[in-house]
């Protein structure tokens, strides 16, 4: 089975390399049948990788410990679900998942466009296959999940061997959000290759209108959504499973997934300018190259071991290859952009600095500066080691101090930007549009000051949140009013129709609203409190308005771990409101590694977060840590709103007779092929 897996990967590599060269050859010779063959190679390579994936899943499910990956990341007592999820529990298997997702994306692109953009497609296929081949090569030759365990016998001969049991899946990973977090994050990292491939194809074929952007809009949005959801799930996992009371630790690996998300956000905004105005063409191509490279860079950080991190797959030898690949891609893209500069001229001029267009410019600037700050902080230890020879740490205090002002500026722009009209805004209208948001925001600020709030950032954050919130509500309200006047619909219906007829604009506002909600949640951090106390049943502890009374300590055993569980009654104002049971687990297979299972009582106002840290030093009492984390709930709620808003922008548009002939001919060809096949 493991040999079959390796073989399938090799076959896939041959196919993808064939696809790369055949598509370029077909384009050069102007022989379309060669391109068709290349496209089939892309699909066949996807199928072959699927086979490899299935065989690895089979090995995992049947606990074949002669395979190193299976022995390293599963054990017999692991539930089947986690056995399968262990596919991405170590770097070689996760690389296979990565390759698989890449191949599936490439296959979908080929299939979707089998009658469309025929002149661009050879190059799109070439870029996709180049990308796939690179990861396949790494996966086969440097990090093969099908490698078998070998034993060196005393005589020096090597022999295959199969240990009686595996080492077990890292217990920290045995949590639902952690199980789906990597695949979702991968969808987000990898998806940017599609707009990237179309951008490169557009450069090569000199078709630098907005075709490549229109074609890939959905890909970009879905990718961005997955990346965002992946980040949030990662945060949720850290919050519930790591037990230190927070959800974002500015870990290098977290940072490396934040960076493409920030760049992708910038890209999503700036393509609107190109679609509407035919401006920023160079910038958009550059931006998608950067976004794609940041995705690769994220894998580089995770897999090269260049930076210390809890998430990193320690010490694999892939780093150099990623570096060369990134340099190659960057060099080639820059060369193409410079060579095609004459085709990338703006079609229009900026009419006024007071316009939506320039608001987008500032949005891009801030997002990229945020991206740079994260990159800079993440890489600074390497840089410092290089320049000064000293090892230093760049941790949360750095990112918080640098990130907060930039984040607040972005928040401000979220409110200000949409108030500007395209092309030119009248100063009068700006005054009107700003009036209520500013008044209400200032009012809030005064109230907060009067209430004794003195923390500068908290004040600014809440004030700006209020400001943006009011601008968004005002947008919906004004827009609905215009529609009510025009159509005579009632207010609610008009608001729904308004949103559905302008999905991108109002869906976008809902995403902005989500950003505000999340900022409220993030600001709550400033009020976090924690206490810890060693307790025995009968003891009480106090945190905020809660009294925690320990009633019981219980030890037990589950299939693959032993646990200790404390039972605490939570009283507030003398009333029992909840019983909480924080747990500590000791996993049998993983050398007794332990995890904390947090007990959580989550309300919009605040979370009560209780951790059983373990027995105290004398072994007679149990260390309980309790956190009160205000407003965390809003982060998750905001994330849900963000998903909803993005889905609205993704809703399909009604087909209009203004659609171009190319799509119609593509459809006609599709029907024709269908008839022929029948």
């Amino acid at each position: 089975m493991s040999n079959l897996g390796t073989f399938c990967l090799l076959l896939a590599l041959c196919l993808s390399l064939y696809g790369l060269f055949a598509s370029l050859l077909g384009a050069a010779l102007k022989q379309h049948r060669i391109v068709r063959s290349a496209e089939r190679a892309a699909i066949a390579s996807c199928a072959s990788i699927l086979l490899a994936l299935v065989s690895l899943l089979y090995l995992l499910a049947t606990s074949d410990f002669s395979v190193e990956h299976v022995a390293q990341s599963t054990s017999r007592d692991l539930p089947l679900f986690y056995k399968l999820a262990a596919l991405w529990g170590a770097h070689d298997g996760s690389m296979l998942l990565w390759v698989f997702v890449t191949a599936v994306f490439s296959g979908i692109v080929v299939f979707q466009n089998r009658f469309r953009y025929r002149d661009m497609m050879p190059y799109v296929v070439a870029v996709l296959m180049f990308n796939l081949s690179f990861f396949l090569i790494l996966n086969i030759f440097l990090s093969n999940p099908f490698d078998e365990l070998v034993q060196v016998l005393p005589g020096g001969t090597m022999q295959k061997f199969s240990p009686p049991d595996g080492r077990g899946l890292n217990p920290l990973l045995q949590y639902w959000a952690m199980v789906i977090h990597p695949p979702i994050l991968y969808l987000g990292f990898i998806g940017f290759v599609v707009p990237f491939a179309f951008a490169i194809a557009a450069l090569i074929t000199r078709q630098l209108g907005d075709t490549w952007i229109r074609t890939t809009r959905r890909w970009t949005l879905v990718t961005w959504l997955f990346l965002g959801v992946g980040l949030i799930l990662g945060g949720k996992w850290a919050y519930v499973e790591l037990g230190w009371g927070g959800y974002w630790g500015w870990d290098p690996v977290e940072n490396s997934s934040l960076m493409p998300w920030l760049a992708g956000t910038a890209f999503l905004h700036s393509v609107i300018v190109q679609e509407r105005k035919g401006m920023l063409k160079v910038w958009n191509v550059l931006l998608i190259v950067i976004t794609y490279l940041l995705g690769i860079f994220g894998t580089f950080i995770t897999r090269s071991g260049i930076i210390n991190s809890v998430h990193a797959f320690a010490d694999s030898k892939l780093g150099v290859f990623f570096l060369y690949y990134m340099l190659l891609v960057l060099g080639a893209s820059l060369y193409l952009i410079i060579d095609r500069l004459p085709y990338l001229k703006s079609e229009r001029r900026l009419d006024s600095v007071l316009s939506r267009e320039s608001a987008f410019l500032f949005n891009n600037l801030l997002l990229l500066v945020a991206c740079f700050a994260v990159l800079w902080g993440t890489m600074f230890p390497v840089l410092s080691n290089w320049v000064e020879g000293t090892k230093i740490t760049v941790g949360p205090p750095f990112f918080n101090n640098v990130g907060v002002p930039i984040g607040l500026m972005l928040l401000l722009l979220t409110g200000v930007g949409p108030l500007f009209a395209w092309r030119k805004t009248s100063v009068e209208s700006l005054k009107k549009a700003f009036l209520w948001p500013v008044i209400l925001a200032l009012l809030l600020c005064v109230v907060l000051l009067a209430a004794g709030m003195r923390s500068f950032y908290v004040l600014v954050s809440f004030t700006l949140s209020m400001f943006v919130l009011v601008t968004i509500v005002q947008e919906f309200w004004k827009g609905t009013r215009v529609r009510v006047r025009k159509t005579g619909e009632n207010f609610a219906l008009a608001m729904v129709n308004l949103t559905l007829k302008n999905k991108r604009r109002y869906g976008g506002y809902i995403v902005h609203l989500a950003v505000v909600l999340m900022f409220i949640g993030l600001t709550g951090n400033a009020f976090n409190r924690e206490t810890s106390q060693a307790m025995v049943p009968g003891d009480e502890m106090q945190i905020g308005r809660y009294t925690l009374k320990m009633t019981e300590y219980h030890e037990g055993e589950a299939a693959n771990y032993q646990y200790g569980r404390a039972t605490l009654e939570v009283y507030s104002g003398g009333k029992l409101i909840r019983t909480m049971q924080p747990e500590k687990r000791f996993y049998k297979a993983s050398e007794g590694q332990s995890t904390t299972e947090v007990a959580l009582y989550s309300k919009p106002l605040e979370d009560l977060y209780v951790v059983l840290a373990g027995p105290s030093n004398d072994g007679k009492r149990y260390e309980i840590t309790a956190h009160v984390n205000p407003l965390v709930w809003w982060v998750w709620f905001g994330a849900a709103v963000m998903v909803a808003g993005t889905l609205i922008t993704l809703l399909p548009d009604k087909r209009s007779s203004f659609a171009n002939a190319q799509l119609t001919i593509a459809e006609a060809a599709e029907i024709e092929m269908g008839v022929k096949a029948r």
Partner: protein
């Protein structure tokens, strides 16, 4: 008159939302007053500023390993010295003397480390200059070319526009 009613409804929705947020913030502002004891705050601050040396590379306040070979004695020492009345800076300095700069969770503000703090804002300023320059440069030629002679408006445009509106 219908729109007046809707105006009012939207107004009340608006003020409801605003009021909710106000209340929320009011509550949040009042909250920290309840935080007891200076020791625990100083303890948290110290732990935030230091990094666990067990290899997890996390702040002392974050490392969740039970009986961590590095975090546990460090925390104990911090608690003890805070109780003795040592100021936070002094405790942090003594750890730096023992382990080197890598025990700090953020770069210092001297020498090369300062660039870590400054660089993002330098880039921000440079970016601002570039964006403003680009915006102004892109905007200028349009002002010169005031209203070139426009081709006469085609009556078909109005027709198609109506149709377009119907379709979306």
């Amino acid at each position: 008159m219908n729109s007046h009613a809707t105006d009012r409804r939207a107004h009340s929705a608006l003020s409801g939302l605003g009021g909710g947020l106000l209340l929320l913030c009011f509550w949040a502002a009042a909250a920290p007053a309840a935080t007891p004891g200076d020791i625990s705050r100083a303890y948290k601050e110290t732990c935030d500023r230091l990094v666990c040396q067990c290899g997890c590379n996390e702040q002392l306040s974050v490392c969740a390993m039970q009986n961590c070979s590095s975090a546990t004695p460090m925390r104990a020492e911090i608690r003890e010295r805070l109780q003795k009345g040592d100021p936070v800076d002094q405790i942090v300095d003594s750890f730096v003397a023992r382990y080197g700069k890598k025990v700090l969770s953020a770069p210092t503000t001297t020498g090369f480390d300062l660039s870590a703090w400054i660089m993002p804002f330098v880039i921000l300023c440079l970016g601002l200059v570039v964006v403003v320059w680009v915006a102004v440069r892109m905007a200028r030629p349009a002002a010169e070319a005031v209203q070139p002679e426009l081709p006469p408006v085609d009556p078909r445009v109005e027709e198609e526009l109506k149709e377009f509106e119907k379709e979306i």
